[in-house]
Amino acid sequence: MKNTRRGLWLTLLPMYLFTLVFVAGPLVYMVVLSFLQRDESWGVTANFTLQNYTQIFQPVYLQTFADSLGLALLSTALIVLVGYPFGYFMARLSARGKKRMMLALMIPFWTSSLIRLYGWIIIFRANGPLDQLLMGLHITSEPLRLLYTYPAVVVGMVYALVQFMIFAVYSSAEKMDWSLVEAARDLGASPFTAFCTVTLKMTLPGLLSGVILTFIPSMGLFFIADILGGNTVVLVGSLIEDQLVKAHNTPFAAALSVVLMLMTTAMIAFYRKVSDVKELEGLL
């Protein structure tokens, strides 16, 4: 009996060790770094300071946080608008229809995000297919030059993340007992009321986890802003990258990361409290 217990502990050990060293370790180091002073050249000096955090409150950086938050909120809202009905409709398909739709969604899902992004570069490029189409239809008279604009970044974000929302909503709508909707209708609810009182409530866990799954990454996906937005859109993600790679200001990058991480973990904690679900729904 004792031996098997020890054996079972041994199975846990590799993951525990790995997690402690390569997940907890780096995160703790990040927190420590954020309180240290930047060295003149590359490194850091072991002087405690709060300066990195006070620096965040400079208007430039606050603006970056506000912009990131704004973009993430806008993208998430659009993703909900596009993804929720899709997931909902999908759950109402026949078993075969569901399977086929899953397959149809799988290919873009598994396709490299860079490839998919690249497709949008082609579309948005001045005199690209979109411009040609719009001008051909005489909707616009000259190229829109959408590439390297804010809307292009928003489209890229929505496009990159909408599938998480679809899967999350689908997986909770699929589990739903449709006879509840019928019961509500039977009791006199209009389709709209039935949807609001029953369907929406039942699919809320999926919707919430979809929001988490899209909102959190959207705060950090700097390469979308980089590629589709050029230098027009600066996000916290890009800021961290800049501070780290170009400015070599590791402590400040760490402080930015700590704040970003606090924001996202607070969201997850909130989600767990609200939805009472441990695993994020729809994460396959």
């Binding site: 790995f18 997690t19 959190i216 780290l244 970003l260």
Partner: protein
Amino acid sequence: MKKGRFRFSYLYMGLVLAIMYLPILLTVIYSFNESRISSVWGGFSLTWYRQLFRDEEMFHALWNSIVLAVCSCLLAAVLGTLGAFGMTRVKSRLNGPMEYLSTLPIMIPEIILGMVFLAFFGLLGLPFGMLTLILAHTAFCVPYIFMLVKARLVGMDPSLAEAARDLGAGEVRVFFDITLPLIAPAIASGMLLSFAMSFDDVIISIFVTGVNVNTLPIRVYTQLKTGVTPEINALCTLMLAGTVLLVALSVWIGREKKHAPKL
């Protein structure tokens, strides 16, 4: 009334799917474009594929990406599966916090992971390159496998293992005869997912890679950022073909799982 609504839902899903596939299809089409300027169609050509196959560095990056994805998804499979197994069997106060910690890498923005790994590996004095890439990728692959396998284990009837023990199997036999075959589909889909995530990752890789080690996504990313050559179109098309293959594989695994109890 009902029919009308259903037609609308079809139309809606069709439209969204069309938009989803549009950029992908365009990439494929333009990869066969003779013209260097993407907005002009210069006729069908395989020029860019020829150019791509002469690009040795690209092949190098591809090889790196494959090695990286295979190593990290295998490593993660071992760590995650054993961890999930142990956690369902050993009751400990550590389980909750450890579960939270080990799934944290996919719960926080990737940029943070990239930044902390860069700083931490620097602190440890590890040489940046394949080793650091594998460590970082394993860190975000473990959660996928852990979560999928654990869900499967929790849903598993505990009396199956007890029945095997009752019939004379020791703890190790039970694991290999009963538990492992039953969680194999979860491990497989977790590995597939990890592989895809690792193969696709740009953000973390950019931070932890060394000067001489390029992965395919990094190379594509830098090319996209600087000047786009149509060669990228060709590469993207080939990667897409690989993706379709992967999806087919995953469907096949899924089918296997569904049919197994019936055959």
